[in-house]
């Protein structure tokens, strides 16, 4: 059953050093700022973080990177106008970077949650991001073998949860949330409100509560 945590510190308890942490969000939209801040306060280190980007400005994911808690980041687009925190760490050799095409990143997360062992995709075939990976021609087209990204923890932001952990999202804040929720052993969602069971229309639930372990209400 899902736990409705009283605060974010309680919500993030028990995350071990060395964990792989999926963090939702595409830029600021859907980024679980309160959970990231709590993980930063707890100080858990040696983390591998998976996000589309590598932090913007000096808040949220960027602030977590700045503490040195993150050993490695897996993302599609680390270089942005305001990704100065990551750029400095990277230039100093203090963070490891794995760049993945965005759709492969998403599908690797989806595959982990769906029990898929690996998959062939045309995306990236013949490019330097496919170097060292198994390649195969399928129907006359070059493909590359990609493996799932299994995680210890997922930190996501949704709009509303019910007491069963069912989640609905809001607009483009949805992005990686639904797939990340499925791919981690411990999924923690921050939401704007929790409503009683039976309040959400079952037809509109995006993430069923089976995937969600802890929920916390944040501003």
């Amino acid at each position: 059953m899902v736990e409705i945590a009283p605060d974010t510190d309680t919500a993030v308890r028990g995350i071990a050093a060395g964990s792989t942490v999926l963090i939702g969000g595409f830029g600021p939209a859907g980024q679980p700022y309160a959970l990231i801040d709590a993980l930063r306060r707890v100080g858990t280190g040696d983390l591998t973080v998976v996000n589309n980007n590598a932090g913007n400005g000096s808040t949220g994911l960027a602030a977590l990177l700045a503490t040195g808690q993150v050993r490695k980041i897996i993302c599609s687009f680390p270089r942005q106008v305001d990704s100065y925190v990551f750029e400095e760490l990277y230039a100093e050799g203090r963070i490891e970077l794995e760049v993945a095409p965005q759709g492969n990143l998403a599908e690797r997360i989806r595959a982990a949650g769906a029990g898929i062992g690996a998959f062939y995709t045309p995306t990236g075939a013949g490019t330097m991001l496919a170097e060292g990976k198994e390649a195969r021609v399928i129907d006359g087209r070059a493909h590359v073998l990609e493996y799932p990204i299994h995680a210890d923890v997922a930190l996501i932001r949704a709009h509303t949860a019910d007491e069963a952990g069912n989640l609905v999202y809001r607009k483009t804040g949805r992005n990686f949330g639904p797939i990340m929720a499925t791919a981690a052993r411990l999924t923690i969602a921050e939401v704007t409100r929790v409503v009683p069971v039976g309040t959400l229309d079952p037809e509109t639930v995006v993430t069923p509560g089976i995937y969600v372990d802890r929920v916390v209400v944040t501003a």
Binding site: A29, F77, P78, Q102, A125, T127, T172
Partner: protein, 216 residues
């Protein structure tokens, strides 16, 4: 082939690309110059814009009270939602691309090879941070990949080349190249010049290391 007297400005180039996007098509406009194509699409043509972060039916940029932190485009700029819009997660957004459901995507480029191979994500410079985003997925997934770029770089070197020297984004994926000086249709074997702007076929043939064919 049509010869026009003057090269295209950036605005004229965006308008030209918009002209060639079929009515009622599903389209992804890449970050940067391609974004400007949206300004020239006729709303009556019913083109539906896709944004990689999980939306179909994206509207114009949001201003003032319309800004919503949960409603951003691929460049993380606040946008609006049009009637008939839909939202979906990232896996579905990229399945939509990879699965060949988008009719057209428009991308910028460092280089395009005559066979349609695209280089647009990384300069390969040792100190450059590699950042690919959705470029490789769009390149292999959209039914038609349009590139818009200047035909020559700042040093005067052609960007339509025999073979890409920059790291490639996708193999043999570009179908059209729109530049300030000419429009090229690529069918995998031949490079057809359909229109020129402020230049001639003989000038283009002299400056480009790619065999050119004149479209009938």
């Amino acid at each position: 082939m049509i010869e026009h007297p003057a090269p295209l400005t950036r605005v004229e180039l965006a308008r030209l690309v918009a002209r060639d996007i079929p009515p009622n098509s599903y389209v992804n406009l890449g970050i940067g110059q391609p974004t400007a194509v949206a300004d020239h699409l006729d709303p009556a043509h019913g083109v539906v814009l896709h944004t990689e972060n999980g939306m179909l039916g994206m509207g114009p940029h949001a201003h003032g009270d319309d800004v919503d932190p949960d409603l951003l485009n691929a460049g993380k700029t606040p946008v609006t939602e049009l009637p008939g819009a839909s939202y979906f997660d990232h896996a579905q957004s990229f399945a939509m691309m990879r699965g060949g459901h988008l009719d057209v995507c428009v991308l910028g480029a460092f280089q395009v090879a005559g066979d349609g191979t695209l280089a647009n994500w990384h300069t390969g410079a040792p100190d450059a941070i590699p950042a690919v985003g959705g470029a490789m997925d769009l390149a292999v997934g959209a039914k038609d990949v349009f590139v818009m770029m200047t035909l020559f770089d700042k040093t005067g070197a052609p960007k339509l080349v025999r073979e890409c020297t920059y790291p490639v984004t996708g193999l043999r994926c570009v179908s059209r190249v729109y530049t300030d000086q000419a429009v090229f249709h690529l069918d995998g074997d031949r490079v057809l010049v359909t229109e020129t702007y402020g230049t001639t076929m003989s000038e283009l043939s002299a400056r480009l290391d790619v065999p050119l064919t004149t479209a009938p």
